[in-house]
């Protein structure tokens, strides 16, 4: 997709905000309190993500086409489906890397019994072919049991390296779960609508 200039600026602002915030809390806080605050920051994500932020994986509205729905402009979005959340091409899984909790005794935003959801996550923006909208998706890991391997996916729309942690799908997002940081599976919760 093509990032508009304003989109780029907004994306840049978000990154700077995130980085500045992380730098500030990292610089001033003990590690335990960093965890607490980062958890709080991520808990605030739903409201934050309703801002008109355009990211690399997001789609843009056609200029002047008020009623027109955006089209998928990413490789994954172009072939995604909206019926089967047990399959890797389910639209919400555009940036998921790991085991689907839907296949492990949990659901699309539900951890399997015996595990605990991570309060932190990485974020993708995925196109839903059913309603033509794009949504921010929080890929929260479920933690405390070893890997569930029923359905394993590796989707990389908008996936960035670990120096962009909020957009990276390699990190074990099991900080502050109260369990061990052992990774079981990944959920894909909607946390906001982009367009």
């Amino acid at each position: 997709m093509s990032l508009s200039d304003s989109g780029k600026k907004q994306a840049g602002l978000l990154d700077r905000l995130t980085e500045t915030t992380l730098r500030r809390i990292a610089g001033r806080s003990s590690r335990r309190s960093v965890l607490t605050r980062l958890g709080g920051a991520v808990a605030a994500v739903p409201a934050f993500m309703l801002l008109p932020v355009s990211r690399a994986g997001a789609t843009t509205k056609a200029a002047g086409a008020e009623a027109a729905k955006p089209k998928a402009k990413t490789p994954f979005g172009a072939k995604a489906q909206a019926k089967n959340d047990l399959a890797c091409d389910y639209w919400r899984y555009c940036a998921i890397d790991g085991n689907l909790c839907t296949s492990c005794g949990g659901g699309v935003h539900t951890c399997p019994p015996g595990t605990a959801p991570s309060p932190t996550s990485w974020i993708g923006s995925c196109y839903n072919p059913q309603d033509g909208n794009s949504y921010m998706i929080a890929y929260r890991d479920c933690c405390g049991q070893d890997s569930c391997n029923e359905v394993t996916c590796l989707n990389t729309d908008g996936d960035q390296p670990s120096y962009r942690p909020m957009a990276n799908n390699d990190i074990i997002w099991c900080f502050g779960t109260g369990t061990s940081e052992m990774y079981n599976c990944s959920t894909a919760a909607i946390v906001g609508k982009i367009s």
């Binding site: 990154d15 610089g27 120096y163 390699d170 074990i172 061990s180």
Partner: protein, 392 residues
């Protein structure tokens, strides 16, 4: 057969044990002992197996690549990292365990192994360690192996500097907004940062860190740099490869210098590949996990390539393209019999190339000069993610 024949045969059978005993000496009793490895050659390597399906059971194998023979193995638990000393006298494993399997006290450990006996020579508890699908650059060694650098994310970003003589963490260097370690010389490392810069950390004579940042040279959300980009601590040369296929040759150091990038596609006679602004264009692109390897003395860069759109940066390579790092031209392309997410090369004059078959856990050993498959170790492991060879 008549009765007399049967009787004769019976007598012959009765006589057999005495006869056989005369020919075969009675086997001697044995003592159990333990093998040591033969001396490491340039083709003795470590192969890291993350065992994604049960990560806590990760391991590293010692392999004789000339024979395709497994020589030994050690534990490398839960998204572990492995780094081999250039002289292959020892290697390090950074790993994580919990006291009661999936629960109890967490132990982040840096284990040092004698490379000949596979005996543990140090087993040090770390303050923390990044738990992330393992990349070579989550753990680095200084050129003289006096220091090990362990990347941690807890979730703030830092690098633990370990003195390998005293086996103690001497510094925890905060690298806010940055990740990974690309060591240079004996007293420094660089990290890639979210703002498109390099953070360069020089450890002063008193051990205190001093950090500089290079000017921003890439946009992570437009065209990110592969974390597995190869580098060499000895001369501080790094080849940072972007998702689209730009190569930023960099002289690492306290004031790292990033050169103007060249294109993998242009070096192969194609047009440069677009980045996130034209994500649907299908062309040859770099990708995989350990997607590149460097042969230092040959000045050659090996890159796993596949045909795909942008955002296919983790797709397995169907070919390996080899570049001259001085001319930026492709020297050869080598189609793979099995698409691979990892590539490694040995550093000698007759180099071997390593790839893996994700489906079977097979390990494929090829002539790095021709791509010809020399031998396959079927089902060596489960999730083979990278190799480490002497002299890297």
């Amino acid at each position: 057969m008549g009765l007399s024949s049967l009787l004769a045969g019976g007598i012959a059978l009765l006589a057999l044990p005495a006869f056989a005993g005369a020919a075969e000496p009675i086997l001697q009793t044995e003592q159990s002992d333990v093998a040591t490895l033969p001396a490491w050659g340039p083709h003795t390597i470590l192969v890291v197996d993350a065992v994604y399906t049960h990560n806590k059971d990760g391991r590293a194998y010692v392999v004789d690549a000339d024979k395709g023979k497994l020589l030994g193995m050690v534990q490398a638990a839960y998204n572990a990292n492995v780094a081999l000393a250039p002289d292959a006298s020892r290697f390090f494993v950074a790993e994580t365990t919990w006291a009661r399997g999936n629960r109890g006290e967490r132990n982040d450990l840096l284990v040092e192994y004698n490379a000949n006996t596979l005996g543990i020579t140090a087993d040090e508890k770390l303050p923390s360690r990044a738990l992330v699908t393992p990349k070579r650059n989550n753990l680095g060694l200084s050129a003289d192996v006096s220091r090990a650098y362990v990347y941690q994310m807890s979730p703030s970003n830092a690098v633990e500097v370990v003195d390998t003589k005293t086996h103690t963490v001497t510094q925890t260097v905060d690298i806010p907004g940055c990740a990974l370690v690309y060591p240079w010389g004996n007293d420094g490392f660089s990290s890639l940062c979210a703002d498109g810069t390099l953070a360069n950390v020089h450890l002063e004579a008193d051990g205190k860190p001093a950090m500089t940042h290079s000017p921003a040279f890439f946009e992570p959300d437009h065209d990110g740099i592969f974390e597995q980009s190869p580098s060499s601590s000895k001369d501080g040369k790094a080849y940072f490869i972007s998702y689209s296929g730009l190569v930023y040759e960099t002289q690492l150091g306290a004031q790292a210098v990033v050169s103007k990038p060249w294109s993998l596609q242009e070096g192969a006679g194609l047009k440069a590949a677009p980045a996130a602004d034209k994500p649907l264009e299908v062309t040859w692109r770099p990708g995989g996990w350990q997607m590149s390897a460097l042969h230092k003395s040959d000045h050659t860069l090996y890159v796993l390539m596949h045909r795909g759109t942008f955002w296919t940066h983790k797709e397995a390579g169907t070919e390996v393209w080899v570049y001259d790092t001085t001319t930026h031209k492709r020297l050869r392309r080598m189609p793979l019999t099995k698409a691979s997410t990892m590539v490694g090369v040995t550093q000698d004059a007759n180099p071997l190339m390593f790839t893996a078959d994700e489906g079977t856990g097979g390990f494929i050993i090829s002539d790095a000069r021709t791509g010809k498959v020399l031998r396959v170790m079927k089902a060596l492991g489960t999730s083979l993610i990278f190799t480490a060879a002497p002299g890297e």
